[in-house]
Symmetry: C2
C-alpha cells in the first residue's frame, strides 16, 4: 500500500479544514438539507437499493475530497484485487474470496494459480442435492422419521450471519423445518433447545472450519450424548461444514463419530464473511429451500458487481465507507447505530457488529505498524420503532451517534390493511422512518432547555424495494463491501482477528486448573492471578 | 441540588489530577491488579450479589475522592427522598416510586399526603387472583378453551424489562403458557405472531399508561379485527394494564371494546422502571405463576434496601454509578458493554439500553440548565462467549470500552455433566468469564505489532449465586439504582424523556399526509420537507 496512514494522504489536510468549516453555524444540517437539489446530489441507487446520505454532515466539497481520498488510498483497485484472489490477508497469507462464493459469472478465480470456482460450484451442487433429498424425505433420521428440526451448532461467524438471513426470510419458509441455533457453550443454550426438539426428527449441522472450536466441540459432544441417551445413532443425525481434511470431515478421522455428510469450507473465506458459503448454504437451503438460497446469492453477487465496477461517485458501499471515515476520523464520532424499520431485519445489527467490529477494530496497519487514529466504530442497534421507545432519547438529546436507517417499500405481509389514525401499520412505520432522520437533522429551539433539540445529528437512509431473498442478499453484500472498503481506507487488514487470541490462551490455563480439580479433588488452584484462584474456589464450592 | 454541575464540585479538580496520574505507565492495570489485597479492597457483596471492580482503572485515592463526590452530590439522600416520594421528576412534577411497587415492609409511602401502598397492594392482589384463575382454567377464552398463548401488546418500557425477566426465568415456566411480545407497529411483527398462535386460546395483554401510544393502539386494533375474523369476542380475550380512567380502563370509555379486566398503573412509576408493577406483574404471573413473580419482587426489594441503607463505601449500585462517572467524565470513555456469561440474561443489554440511555441520555440539568459534560454512555452487549466470537476483537485491540461482565455460580440446568477437554460446559463458560477481564487488563507485549495487546482496559464483574427469581430481581433493581445514582451525580432528571417528542411531532404531520392520500387519491403531498415528499411518493407508488 503506497500510503501508510490516512494522515499521510495528501487530501487529509483538506478534509481537516472541511471538518472545521462544518462546525460553523451556517453549516448546521438544517441549512444543508434545504440546499436546492440536496437529495439528488447525495443519493445513490442500484437495482432499487437506495442509499440516501443527504442527512450526513457534508457538502459537495467534502464529498469531492472524500472521492480524492478513495483514489489516493487505492480503494477500488484493492477491491478488484480482492475479488481476483490477491492475498490481502497478509498476516495469514490468504486470499479473501467471499465474493467467489456467490459468483455465477463463469469467470475463473485463481488462488496460487488454481481456479477455485469448480470447488465452489461442487459444494453448491452438493448442498442443492442434499437439501432436496432431506426435504423430500429421501434422507430421514436413524429411526426413519422425517427431519423437521434443525439445530445449527456453531459460534460467531458460523451462525450470526445465517441467523440474520433466516430471520429476515422466515416469512417465506415453507419447508416445515424448525430452526435453532446452538452457539454458546453456556449449558442454558443446550438445555433449552433439548426441551423443544424432537430428537428423532432432528438434524444437527456442526459448523467449524478447523473443527477444534472449543464451544462447538463441547456442544457437539452434548448432542452426541443426548442422541445416544435417546437410543439414536448420531451418525444418522449430524452433518458438518468444515475444512477438507479437518477432524470433522467425512472419513477425516476415524476416531470421531461418523456423519451423514460433510460440506467443505475454504481458507480463503473468513467466518464473518461466510454466509454465502456452505456455512449459510446448508442451513438456509434446508430452512428456505435451495432455490431461495440461490436467489439470495444472486442478490449478493449483484451488489459485488456494483461495488467493483461503479465509479467512486456512484459507488454505494465505497461512499458509505468514506462517510464512516469522515464521521470517525474527522468529525470524531465513536459509534454508529443501525436501525432497521423492518422487524425481519432484527438480527442485522448483531451480524454487522461482528462483521464490522471484528474486521475493523484494529490498531495495526496491514503492513504491521501501529495506526495513529481510531478505526472501527462501536456498532449497535435495534429495530425501529422499538428503538424510538428505548435509546432514541440519547440519540436526540445526549451523545451524537450517526445512524443508518433502513426501510423496505413493500412489506412481506401484504394482507393486513386495517387502519389506525387513517393509516395502515406499514404506513405508520414509515411515518416514523421518515420523521426520525429529519428530527435528528433539524432539531428544534425551545425556551425551555429540557425541550430543546440541538439537531445537526447525521444519518443515512437505506431503502430496499422489498424484503425478498435478492434484497437481503444485496444488503448482506453491501455491509461486507462497506466493511472492507473502510479497512482499505484506514490501511488495515479486515480479514484477521488476533485480538481474540490472548483471552483464548488465558482460558486454556484456567480450563486446565478446572480439569485438574475435576480429576483430583485435592488439586490446589495455581493460577498466577490470585483473583482467578478466588473465583475458581467459589465456583467449585458451588458445584 | 446544591451543586449545579459536576464541574463545580470541590472534589472534581482532585479527580482530574487523579485521572492524569492514572495515565502514568506504572498505573497500568497490570500493575494495579497485582497490588496486595486488590480484590478485597475493590469488591463488594450483598446477599451473594458480588460486585468486583478490581479491574477498573482506579486506586484507593480515586475511590476516596469518588466517595467525596457522592457526598457532595447528595446521592444517598436523594435516593432516600426518591423512595420516600419526593417529586424528583421535576419537569413532570411527579414522584418516582418504582421501589414502592416491590415494598413488602408495611411502611406507608406518601404522595401529596396520601399513602399509596394500599393501591399497590390491591393491584398485586388482583394480579395474584386473576393469574391463578386463568391458570386453573376458571377463566377461559370466549369459546371455552383454556388460555395457552399470551400476547403482550406494548412497546418500550411496556415490554423490554418484562421480556428480560421472562427470558431469564423461562427455564422455570411450568404454566403451559407460550408468551409473545407484539411491540413494533411493523406489520411483520403482527404477521408472524398471527401465524403461530391459537386464536381461541390466546389472551392479549395490552399495556399503555395513557392508552394512546400509537404503536400499541394500532396493534390492539389489528388484534381485535383478527379475533372478529375468527368469530371470537374480543371482550373475552383482552386485559389491559393502564392508568385509572384511561380509554383502556374497564368502564372507562364505552366506545371502546369491553375487556376481561384492567390493572392499574400509576403516574409515579415510569415505563422503563415499571417491570415490578402491573406492567411486568400481569404477564410474568401468567407465564411463571404469581409465586415466582413475588419472589422476583422480593429480590428487587432486597437490593433497594441495600441501596438506600448501605454507606457509600459498601453501596454496590452507588459505587457502580461513581465508576460510570469516573469512566465517562474523567477517563473519557463514551460507551459501556454489558456481557452476561449466562444465556438466560440475553435480553438484559436491551433492557438496560432503554433503562439507562433513556434515563441519562440528557443534556439539561434537573433544574433546567444545559450540562457542560457528556452524560449517559452508549450501552450495548451480547452474551459471552458469543460476544468473544463477535466484537471482542475491537474490545481487545480497537477502541477502549469498559465492560460489565456478569456470571452465575450455579446454572439453571444442572443435569448436564458431560465433559469436553476435562471440563463441563458451565466450567468452560467460566474459564472464559475469568480469562476475558484478565486479558483486557493485562494485555501482552509481542514483537509482532499485530499480536500486541495494549491492555489497561477496564471492566467490572458481577457474580450472582444463581439465576433464581430472587437473583433476577436483585439484578433488575441494581441497574435501576445504578441508573438513578448516575443521574443524581450528573445532576440530571432520569425520569423524563422529552427527547422523544420532536420525532413524534414530525411523524404526526407525515401521518396526516398519508391519511389524506388514503382518503383522496388526488391529494398532493405537502410536507415542508422536499425529501419527505419524495419518499411519500415512492411509498405510495409501491402500495
Amino acid at each position: 500500500m503506497e500510503h501508510q496512514t490516512l494522515y499521510t494522504s495528501s487530501v487529509f489536510g483538506k478534509l481537516q479544514a472541511d471538518a472545521n468549516r462544518l462546525e460553523l453555524p451556517e453549516m448546521h444540517l438544517r441549512n444543508l438539507i434545504h440546499t436546492p437539489g440536496r437529495l439528488e446530489a447525495f443519493c445513490l441507487e442500484t437495482r432499487g437499493f437506495l442509499f440516501d446520505f443527504s442527512r450526513q454532515r457534508l457538502d459537495e466539497t467534502v464529498l469531492s475530497h472524500l472521492h480524492e481520498l478513495a483514489a489516493e488510498r487505492d480503494a477500488l483497485s484493492l477491491f478488484r484485487g480482492m475479488m481476483r484472489g490477491d492475498k490481502l490477508n497478509r498476516t495469514e497469507n490468504r486470499a479473501a474470496l467471499h465474493t467467489a462464493a456467490r459468483s455465477f459469472s463463469g469467470e475463473p478465480v485463481l488462488v496460487d494459480g488454481v481456479n477455485i470456482m469448480p470447488d465452489i460450484k461442487r459444494v453448491r451442487e452438493e448442498i442443492r442435492q442434499f437439501s432436496s433429498r432431506i426435504l423430500k424425505g429421501e434422507i430421514t433420521g436413524s429411526t426413519g422419521k422425517r427431519f423437521s428440526h434443525l439445530v445449527v451448532i456453531g459460534i460467531g461467524g458460523s451462525y450470526l450471519g445465517t441467523e440474520f438471513v433466516s430471520e429476515a426470510l422466515k416469512a417465506y419458509s415453507d419447508t416445515g423445518i424448525r430452526l435453532y441455533y446452538l452457539s454458546n457453550v453456556d449449558i442454558h443454550n443446550f438445555g433449552r433447545i433439548a426441551t423443544e426438539i424432537d430428537p428423532e426428527a432432528t438434524l444437527w449441522v456442526v459448523i467449524s472450519k478447523s473443527y477444534t472450536t472449543a464451544e462447538t466441540m463441547a456442544n457437539e459432544q452434548l448432542a452426541v450424548r443426548f442422541m445416544k441417551e435417546k437410543g439414536l445413532d448420531p451418525a444418522g443425525h449430524i452433518v458438518t461444514v468444515t475444512a477438507k481434511g479437518s477432524p470433522g470431515d467425512v472419513g477425516g478421522n476415524e476416531n470421531k463419530v461418523q456423519r451423514l455428510a460433510a460440506f467443505h469450507m475454504f481458507d480463503f473465506i473468513g467466518g464473518r464473511y461466510s454466509v454465502t458459503s456452505a456455512v449459510g448454504g446448508v442451513p438456509l437451503s434446508l430452512f428456505l429451500g435451495y432455490e431461495r438460497f440461490e436467489r439470495f446469492l444472486k442478490g449478493a453477487e449483484e451488489m459485488d458487481l456494483h461495488a467493483v465496477t461503479a465509479d467512486v461517485d456512484k459507488n454505494i458501499p465505497l461512499t458509505s465507507a468514506l462517510i464512516s471515515i469522515w464521521n470517525a476520523n474527522l468529525l470524531g464520532y465513536s459509534s454508529q447505530a443501525i436501525i432497521p424499520y423492518a422487524s425481519p431485519l432484527a438480527k442485522l445489527p448483531a451480524h454487522v457488529q461482528q462483521l464490522n467490529m471484528e474486521s475493523n477494530g484494529k490498531s495495526v496497519s496491514a503492513s504491521g505498524t501501529p495506526v495513529p487514529y481510531p478505526t472501527g466504530a462501536i456498532i449497535f442497534g435495534e429495530p425501529g420503532t422499538n428503538a424510538q421507545h428505548s435509546f432514541f432519547q440519547l440519540l436526540h438529546q445526549g451523545r451524537t451517534v450517526p445512524v443508518e436507517f433502513i426501510g423496505a417499500l413493500v412489506p412481506q405481509y401484504s394482507t393486513y390493511h386495517s387502519r389506525s389514525k387513517g393509516v395502515t401499520n406499514h404506513q405508520e412505520l414509515w411515518a416514523n422512518l421518515l420523521s426520525q432522520p429529519m428530527a435528528l437533522a433539524l432539531g428544534k429551539e425551545d425556551p425551555d432547555p429540557a425541550r430543546c433539540f440541538s439537531g445537526n445529528r447525521p444519518s443515512s437512509s437505506i431503502i430496499l424495494p422489498d424484503l425478498t431473498p435478492e434484497s437481503i442478499g444485496r444488503l448482506l453484500s453491501f455491509y461486507e463491501a462497506k466493511t472492507v472498503f473502510e479497512a482499505f481506507l484506514w490501511g488495515i487488514n479486515p480479514f484477521d482477528q488476533f485480538g481474540v487470541e490472548l483471552g483464548k490462551k488465558l482460558a486454556t490455563g484456567i480450563r486446565k486448573e478446572m480439569a485438574d480439580r475435576n480429576q483430583n479433588e485435592g488439586h490446589a488452584f495455581g493460577s498466577d492471578e490470585p483473583i482467578v484462584n478466588f473465583y475458581l474456589e467459589k465456583l467449585f464450592k458451588n458445584r
